[in-house]
Amino acid sequence: MLIFAIRRLLQAIPILLGVSLVVFGLVHIVPGNPIDMLMPPEASPEVIAQMKAAFGFDKPLYIQYTLWLWRALHGNFGLSVFNATPVWGQLVEALQNTFVLAILGAALGFSMGIFCGMVSALYHGRWPDKLFSAIATIGVSLPHYWCAIVLVLLCAVLHDWLPAQGMGDDSLPLYDRLQYLVLPVVTLSLIPMGVIGRLVRATVLDILGQDFVGALSAKGLTRWPVIRHIAKNAAPPILALMGLQFGYLLGGSILVETVFNWPGSGNLLNLAIFRRDIPVLQATILVLATFFVLLNLLVDIAQAAIDPRIRR
């Protein structure tokens, strides 16, 4: 088990290196220098050269990469080209806001998905199954940014139930600030719900069809122990999907954050793109992708801890 964890950890290192290379390389497949894009066309060559030197864009690429990576490992992503504040500070703040949304959205979406999937499987072929299957299909093909707009339409435009945008002032009482969370969290929770529900249904049906469940019932075990056995066997694949989906929520919140004007990492990324703020852009993508890799790593190890067959 320990050997598996260590080996899996070692495998993550080249992937993370590759990720950093891609993030760094992305900026440089674009023709021209990041500074050229940023500076007004009438800027004098001296000023441009000065700026390049200041941001380190005058050195050869591999030196730039090594320097960038070395600093990034120490949490130093330099200064924002747009407003010259440290990137790291901006990013930490934005990530906190994103995590609040992603964790709540995941918690809500996963529990709804698991519930729907379990009920569908236990009522296989009857009306709850058909209803939840339809909901799952809709959930999978729902453009969540549209869903966000529809929710705003319903709850903020047609009725004045909930605030439509922003995350509220710090000065507001907790209850009022929680109201700002409701719509974004509900929207985000719809992303994983359908996928998780489908997988739970398929996995549970598969396990119900296997011999050992029949054997357990035949042994006279009542409902609960049987369900515990099912849960134990269904957990690994569902866990894996949850890890992936949580990663998507982190990275994919950009559209939802845009609609709700939520000051998270997605919003930061969006702003960085339109401001051509390369350091912020690189840092945001690198940190989110690193989270994603580490998340998958954790899921793999957790899976192996539950199911010894996965350890190889």
């Binding site: 993030v23 299909t137 339409l153």
Partner: protein, 301 residues
């Protein structure tokens, strides 16, 4: 006994002249025709295709010309049955024409990734060894990015525009495509009938063509269809963020974004482009489910 005697003996035992057996795809088609959901969804998709490609036939307005006098009319306005947008252009017309770019921006990336990713995946799966490892490890790196994030990053850096959004989505879809094709190819490759074909002394290319491709292309195509469903949402999402198609072009994601500003004036009109994205995406999703079911020889006879 020689070849010749074997031949004559065999011929004498023949009972009926051999008619070539019916193709596998024909029976899949027959099964699809009997599936009500898939047929309904296909009809709906055909209708969407008709109003988008044949837009001039179903509307006489120009999608780019509006009038300040008819700004933001509600649904049911005479002459503009779906209302008008923020510059007074007929929304039905915009939706019809907008589907062209939306479908193009969604289907083209999947096609590119199908060709590139399918090739790489089959190569990795059949060749294995160093080639396979190299391809798969490279894909693992791209897999480390959540798909939307990667698409936004590429698109954001390349600059907005239709072609950049297509490139970005193709890059995003290639890794999962490679993974799926590698998995099915590895499975097919290790089956006894591929071994049997090798044992019958046929060449690698013949084996790939008759045994591997036949068993691998189906699942890959089904996966590609389900990817179109994702691609429609993602490509419209890029436009929604202002990273894809640029104004004044008509595209569902872009329309959704610009009408969003008018949500307090004409709430229902603002939601319409999103509905189109949703319905089209769901149609492709259900169709891929239907095709997958029809292609499974073992399930239905």
């Amino acid at each position: 006994m020689s070849d010749i005697t074997l031949q004559t003996q065999l011929v004498s035992r023949a009972e009926a002249p051999a008619a070539p057996p019916p193709g596998y795809w024909k029976s899949v088609g027959q099964r699809l025709l009997r599936d009500k959901t898939t047929m309904a969804v296909s009809l709906l998709l055909a209708a969407i295709l008709f109003i988008t490609l044949g837009a001039p036939l179903v509307t006489h307005y120009d999608p780019y010309v509006g009038s300040v006098l008819t700004r933001l009319k509600p649904i049911g306005t005479p002459g503009h049955w779906l209302g008008t947008d923020e510059t007074g252009r007929d929304l039905w017309t915009r939706l019809c024409y907008g589907g062209r770019l939306s479908l193009l921006a969604a289907i083209l990336p999947v096609t590119i990734s199908l060709i590139v990713g399918g090739f790489l995946g089959i190569l990795a799966g059949y060749a294995g060894g160093w080639t396979g490892t190299l391809i798969m490890r490279t894909m693992d790196v791209f897999y480390a990015f959540p798909s939307i994030l990667l698409a936004i990053a590429i698109c954001g850096l390349l600059g907005n525009g239709l072609s950049n959004s297509i490139i970005a989505l193709a890059v995003v879809f290639i890794p999962p495509m490679v993974r799926v094709s590698e998995t099915v190819t590895t499975q097919a490759r290790n089956l006894d009938f591929v071994e049997a074909a090798r044992a019958s002394g046929t060449t690698t290319l013949q084996i790939i063509r008759y045994h591997v491709l036949a068993n691998v292309l189906g699942p890959i195509m089904v996966y590609a269809t389900s990817l179109i469903s994702v691609s429609i949402i993602l490509s419209a999402g890029l436009s929604f963020l202002g990273l894809g198609v640029t104004p004044p072009q008509a595209e569902w994601g872009l329309m959704l974004n610009s009408l969003r500003q008018a949500i307090y004036v004409q709430p229902y009109v603002a939601a319409l482009p999103g509905l189109m994205i949703f319905v089209t995406s769901m149609c492709f999703n259900l169709m891929s489910d239907g095709v997958r079911g029809a292609m499974d020889v073992r399930l239905n006879k």
